[in-house]
């Protein structure tokens, strides 16, 4: 559903993402983890058509994100770390726009607002919402319509415990619908709970990839307990540290290696 083939991105000659290949199948949830500047957001933004890849290719449901961008984006729900719309945008207008371009009936727009807990405030502007309310709104809009791929950049950021639970539920529902979910997060417990597979990125490179158990094994960390108990924080620190020291192109673990 989501496929990256040697995707790369540079900003002014400075590589932000080194050639990177990945596939996320329908109904699979893959998490991108890594320190700031690892290339997680760049990967998601390239897939969402927000930045143009410098090399390689990426596909959403078989549509090239560059040459067939509109068709690709028609399948994508994207949550940015940035607001991404003017602060004076009225919620109703925004929801109706998303509904219209995704071919959803106008009632779906109001449903999305209601789902975000904002059904009674359709006339409010985005700028009037709290950080958590904005995040809920944008997640509701990202999942509005028949999207087959969901790209979420720090979906739990600025959310309280209840909001984080709602995000986890939304990702779970998307997975059950057969949506391919690729999300970036610093919330490692969310990653442990939600991700079928985890990709560890450091300085624009993928340094490890696999299930939590596979990554734990690669990091040499005992991982007997069921989620959410596995010591993902420790696994993460070991793999990131190892990734920083490794030569470009070195991969700690591939899913195929561990099979």
């Amino acid at each position: 559903m989501i496929r990256l083939e040697q995707l790369q991105k540079s900003y002014g000659g400075r590589p932000a993402l080194e050639p990177f290949s990945l596939e996320v199948a329908a109904g699979e949830v893959v998490a991108l983890v890594g320190p700031n500047g690892a290339g997680k957001s760049t990967t998601l933004r390239s897939l969402a058509g927000v930045v143009r890849p410098s090399g390689g290719r990426a596909f959403i449901a078989g549509h090239d994100v560059v040459t067939d961008g509109v068709a690709a984006r028609n399948q994508v729900g994207y949550l940015s770390q940035r607001l991404g719309v003017p602060a004076n945008t009225v919620l109703r207008d925004l929801a109706e726009l998303v509904a219209r371009v995704r071919g959803v009936a106008p009632a779906g727009a109001l449903q999305a607002l209601t789902g975000a807990g904002l059904g009674d405030r359709p006339g409010s502007t985005v700028g009037e919402l709290s950080g958590g309310q904005r995040q809920r709104l944008m997640i509701a809009l990202a999942t509005l319509g028949p999207v087959t791929a969901l790209l979420l950049d720090e979906p739990s950021i600025s959310l309280d415990a209840e909001g984080s639970d709602e995000v986890r539920q939304a990702i779970g529902e998307a997975k059950r619908r057969g949506t391919a979910v690729l999300f970036a997060s610093h919330q490692l417990h969310d990653v442990a709970l939600l991700a079928d597979r985890i990709v560890v990125m450091v300085q624009g490179r993928m340094v490890a990839q696999g299930t939590l158990a596979q990554l734990a094994q690669a990091a040499g960390v005992a991982c007997d307990a069921a989620p959410p108990e596995p010591p993902i924080d420790r696994i993460y620190r070991i793999l990131v540290s190892r990734g920083r020291d490794s030569a470009p192109g070195t991969l700690t673990l591939l899913r195929e290696d561990a099979a």
């Binding site: 933004r45 058509g49 927000v50 961008g69 509109v70 719309v85 003017p86 009225v90």
Partner: protein, 271 residues
């Protein structure tokens, strides 16, 4: 296409909620009425000019004020395009985002212009009669054309520059060049070139600035070339009867070309 219409509707709703349009309408209404008022007559009574004289007087206001406001509005709207990460991730083409911003700005500011000039027109009509009202309608047409062109130019600047502040600075500099620079070039051309060749170069210069093209078009439509500036003075002789069409085409060109360039530039931009 339907997605572009959806975007246009979205942008239009946002633009209608902004404060720019009402300020623009009120400003133009007041300025237009002020221009229509003549000084005290010999009897000490304030009188109102008819449409013919008001149109010519207002033309100068239009070609000076509308471009600067539209260039700045367009530049800000263009720079802000780079903040639209969410919109850009929707299944819409990037040029459609630029186009929808342009059309929303053109419609709202155009409506504001119509309201402002229309209010003044009603005052003139009531107090001075409706004779020569067609000149006033043509003035409104010219104002809308130069508004559309200046907005497109401003959008291109904003999309290319990205920073609001820089975009506004460049927009103001461009306005200076368009309202003064091209006239200075015309004066230079007139003084240096022999009369035959000067006419050709003046024609080119009239097309080279949407402001001068609008001024010349207005004068041409009002048959008021007597009041022309350095470039407009040669209008009749240079352009002849086809002049108005050529100038209208130039203004449309000044709209379509920057808008296309802005769309292309935005398509290649990283947000």
């Amino acid at each position: 296409m339907s997605h572009t219409l959806s975007l246009c509707r979205f942008e239009l709703e946002a633009a209608l909620r902004g404060r720019t349009a009402p300020i623009f309408a009120a400003g133009f209404g007041l300025a237009s009425v002020a221009v229509a008022l003549v000084g005290l007559s010999a009897g000490g009574v304030l009188a109102v000019q008819g449409f013919a004289r008001t149109s010519v007087s207002l033309l100068e206001l239009v070609v000076w004020v509308v471009p600067i406001l539209a260039l700045i509005s367009g530049a800000v709207a263009g720079a802000d395009c780079h903040e639209l990460e969410f919109t850009a991730s929707l299944p819409v083409r990037r040029p459609a985002i630029v186009f929808s911003r342009w059309i929303a700005s053109t419609l709202t500011l155009g409506a504001a212009l119509l309201l402002g000039l229309g209010a003044a027109g009603m005052v003139i009509g009531l107090l001075a009669g409706s004779a020569d009202g067609w000149r006033y309608l043509r003035l409104i047409g010219v104002a809308l054309l130069v508004l559309a062109a200046s907005l497109a130019l401003g959008l291109w600047i904003g999309v290319a520059v990205r920073s609001r502040l820089k975009a506004v600075g460049i927009a103001v500099a461009v306005w200076f060049v368009l309202v003064i620079g091209v006239d200075l070039a015309a004066i230079g051309a007139l003084s240096v070139l022999p009369p035959g060749k000067a006419s050709v170069w003046l024609s080119v210069l009239l097309m080279a600035s949407p402001v001068d093209a609008a001024r010349a078009l207005g004068l041409s439509l009002f048959h008021a070339d007597v009041v022309a500036g350095p470039t407009g003075a040669a209008l009749r002789a240079v352009l002849g009867q086809a002049g108005a069409w050529a100038l209208t085409a130039a203004l449309l060109g000044w709209t379509v070309v920057p808008l296309t360039l802005a769309g292309r530039r935005f398509s290649r931009s990283d947000l």
